[in-house]
């Protein structure tokens, strides 16, 4: 089974479904197409968290190999492939950072994103919005969010590091995420 990757962004979400279906049937070219589309996101997130190219590459390899072995882990009808892979990459990278056995089973993560991220143009627009929302956040809020997300610190670790109360850190992280959602919905 050979399939092509549509260049038209409007077909990209459909193409994700087609790719996922083809991968289920063992189509290696579909796996290569999926890698070409999303490897940059996975690698960038892993590298941001791990700050180590070799470790980020291992996370990249690990995630796509698991997707190949268990393509049913991603249900394209309920999730967004780009966001799902980004979350998986972040979780795996945090696991590696904490030197834990991987806890983030592919099947345990359901991601709900209304925005279409399958096309290059869609992702580019979304990235601009997210960066704009982060820039617009108060620094303590943005800092708490990034420490939790990219450094894998728990809220108590953040509280200890910043000297802020636990409840404050919790609130900052949650409101930071809600700000992002609101900015993307606008």
């Amino acid at each position: 089974m050979n399939i092509g990757v549509p260049s038209d962004d409007t077909n990209a979400m459909t193409s994700d479904l087609v790719l996922a279906t083809a991968i289920r049937s063992g189509d290696r070219s579909a796996m290569a197409a999926l890698y070409d589309r999303y490897s940059s996101i996975v690698y960038a997130v892993a590298l941001r968290v791990l700050q180590d190219t070799g470790a980020a590459e291992d996370v990249l390899q690990d995630i796509f190999m698991q997707l190949w072995r268990n393509p049913g882990a991603f249900d394209a009808s309920r999730g967004n492939m780009a966001a799902w892979l980004a979350v998986i990459a972040r979780h795996r990278a945090i696991d590696a950072l904490r030197r834990h056995r991987p806890e983030s089973d592919l099947e345990n993560v359901v991601v709900s994103v209304e925005t279409d991220l399958a096309g290059d143009a869609d992702r580019s627009r979304t990235m601009d919005k997210v960066r704009g929302a982060l820039q617009a956040m108060p620094l303590p809020q943005r800092s708490a969010l990034e420490m939790a997300y990219f450094e894998g610190l728990t809220h108590s670790e953040i509280a200890e590091k910043t000297g802020e109360p636990l409840g404050t850190i919790k609130t900052r992280i949650r409101t930071g995420l809600l700000c992002l959602r609101k900015a993307l919905a606008a």
Binding site: R28, M31, S39, S40, A44, T115, L117, R174
Partner: protein, 266 residues
């Protein structure tokens, strides 16, 4: 503060995998029963996915692509036919159990198919055997019908061969099978019936009991007649047969008229 508000901030930390201890356990217990919080968790994870998109960095090295493609080229796996029915919150038990259940289901289906194929093959053999039996019985029935039709056909030529110096005397032949209560009788050279008279065949039981009526009949113009399988009681062995001339009306339960022909034994 409502229960949802109480867990709202913990949900964000949980999505980040930054919640631990008793708070994490309490939230996971709540998630098991709260669809609203599970939905919010999915949305928060979506937010985290968007946050990841703020990350800019170098593209992965080309060797990473080659490494992946080489790995999947050497690793074969069976195609996965179906989507997972519930990709959301699965326990670690489910993560292990689902693949096993899929394989077990596939194995069960293979065994079922194998069993059905064998059953189908056996049924086809049975059908073929029954068809052969039916064809053989139909053939036997056809032959029997032809025999009976020939015997009973008034237009069939019936010639009895006797000694050259013998006179044409009334004759009869009874063929009786006790097991099936089957009796075939045919007669020839019977005298024409007088008015209001009829011939009657009698079975004389071997136990010496009274004769049993075995059929009324009228011969054709050449004096020939046939009686086939008249109603008879079960299990009556025959000692002899006889034909009498009886009144056409009235009771026929016991012979009253003149014997015309009587059996002489085999």
């Amino acid at each position: 503060m409502s229960e949802h508000e109480q867990f709202a901030e913990d949900l964000a930390l949980y999505a980040l995998k930054a919640l631990d201890g008793p708070e994490r356990q309490a939230l996971e217990k709540h998630l098991e029963v709260c669809a609203s919080c599970r939905r919010e968790l999915e949305l928060l994870r979506g937010d985290l996915g968007l946050l990841a998109l703020s990350t800019a960095g170098p593209r992965p090295p080309a060797r990473a692509r080659q490494r992946l493609l080489s790995a999947i080229a050497t690793e074969t796996r069976p195609p996965v036919a179906a989507l997972p029915s519930e990709p959301g919150q699965r326990s670690s038990w489910a993560a292990f159990a689902w693949p096993a259940l899929r394989w077990a289901s596939a194995l069960a289906l293979v065994l079922l198919c194998f069993g059905l194929l064998r059953q189908n093959s056996a049924l086809q053999q049975n059908v073929a055997s029954l068809r052969a039996q039916f064809a053989a019985q139909a053939n036997q029935l056809e032959q029997a019908n032809q025999v009976v039709a020939t015997l009973r056909d008034p237009d069939a030529m019936k010639i009895e061969l006797v000694a050259a110096d013998n006179e044409r005397q009334p004759r009869g032949k009874a063929i009786y099978q006790l097991r099936n209560r089957s009796l075939i009788f045919f007669a020839s050279n019977l005298p024409p019936l007088p008015p209001e008279k009829i011939y009657e065949l009698w079975l004389f039981p071997a136990d010496g009991g009274k004769p049993i009526a075995a059929g009324l009949f009228k011969p054709d113009t050449r004096g020939s007649a046939t009686v086939v399988n008249p109603p008879l009681p079960q299990g009556v062995a025959a000692k002899n047969f006889a034909v009498t001339l009886e009144p056409e009306s009235g009771s026929h339960e016991s012979p009253r008229g003149t014997p015309v022909i009587v059996g002489v034994g085999e």
